[in-house]
């Protein structure tokens, strides 16, 4: 039996199919979930994919958080189920209050689309459980609103409790403004909740699993997610 990972399609989602494909390339089973269907169909984990749900109207992720499926995901997360939000999915998790902070327009005002280096900061999440801290992963980003911001108190709490999961870095893992593609505070590319089961990140691991089309930094994250799900499912 392979891990069943649900991927939600909202109106305006773009990377739902890539996420399903990545899950399947890595040996899991991708299960399409529909925003209006308040049912998770017994999946072992959930991915909120990238895209422009509801046209990003009002604020990125602001409308998607009220989709019927989100109520189910909130309960699933509260029971400890792994939830991964990628890009727009990260924005939705922040808007839902499942993760602290918010994502605002890139400091450059420009949409950025390129491969970045990411430093893994903690193993205390399903997607990094098998990835050594300090590991550098090459993964693409593509976003206009990826600048992570939060109040100073929240930022300190994220640092103190090991809730920062990924930081933008240089090829040798050095974190500096030169390697910060969007102005994110403290170079933060991804965070987790207190329990560790809800993770959001701006970079796209689902676009980094197939060596034929680019870097493969996403493989380790999907492999970790799938093995974590299998280990906890029984």
């Amino acid at each position: 039996m392979s891990a069943r990972i649900g991927v939600v399609t909202f109106p305006g989602s773009l990377d739902d199919r890539d996420a399903i494909r990545a899950v399947e390339l890595m040996g899991g089973q991708g299960v399409p979930l529909w925003h209006a269907d308040p049912e998770l169909h017994g999946v072992d984990g959930v991915i909120l994919p990238g895209g422009f749900s509801y046209g990003d109207y009002l604020r990125c992720g602001a409308i998607a958080r009220f989709a019927p499926v989100m109520e189910e995901i909130r309960g699933f997360a509260a029971r400890g189920g792994p939830v991964l939000g990628i890009c727009n999915g990260f924005q939705i998790l922040c808007e839902s209050g499942l993760l602290p902070g918010a994502l605002i327009r890139n400091r450059s005002l420009r949409f950025v689309c390129r491969i970045v280096s990411l430093r893994v900061e903690t193993t205390q999440t399903p997607i990094t459980a098998d990835v050594p801290p300090g590991e550098i992963l090459e993964i693409p980003i593509k976003h206009g609103e990826g600048q992570f911001v939060a109040g100073e108190a929240d930022l300190d709490r994220l640092e103190d409790e090991g809730m920062v999961v990924f930081r933008y870095c240089g090829p040798d893992g050095e974190v500096s403004e030169d390697h910060n593609p969007n102005g994110a505070l403290r170079g933060i590319a991804g965070i987790r909740n207190e329990a560790g089961n809800v993770v959001g990140l701006m970079p796209h691991p689902e676009h980094a699993v197939d060596p034929d089309v680019g870097p493969t930094g996403g493989q380790a994250l999907f492999a970790s997610l799938l093995s974590h799900v299998m280990a906890t499912a029984r």
């Binding site: 009002l58 604020r59 902070g101 918010a102 605002i104 327009r105 890139n106 400091r107 911001v149 102005g183």
Partner: protein
């Protein structure tokens, strides 16, 4: 009673406002070189049924904090509450 309410949503002070910066950067091109501190916000106008102005305000404040604005990054305030004619009622 029916009320028209206007809400102003602004980025919290101190948070970088790239949109405001872009506008600020464009103004000198038109000859206005004496402008600074441009911040861009959102204006929302809506109508609602409520028992009175106070009830209308309370509801709009709740809607503002739950959807119209994201309190993590934005402030919102009611600019104006005005009683308007009932929808569907003909005024001659």
């Amino acid at each position: 009673m029916r009320f028209a309410v206007e809400v102003l949503v602004t980025l919290k002070p101190g948070l970088a406002d790239p949109q405001g910066k872009a506008v600020e950067g464009a103004l000198p091109a038109l000859g206005w070189t004496n402008v600074s501190g441009v911040r861009v916000g959102k204006h929302v106008r809506l109508e609602l049924e409520a028992d009175g102005e106070a009830a209308a305000r309370t509801q709009v404040e709740e809607m503002s904090s739950r959807l119209l604005s994201n309190p993590v990054i934005e402030d919102s305030r009611i600019l104006e509450v005005q009683e308007v004619p009932q929808e569907g009622v003909q005024h001659t």
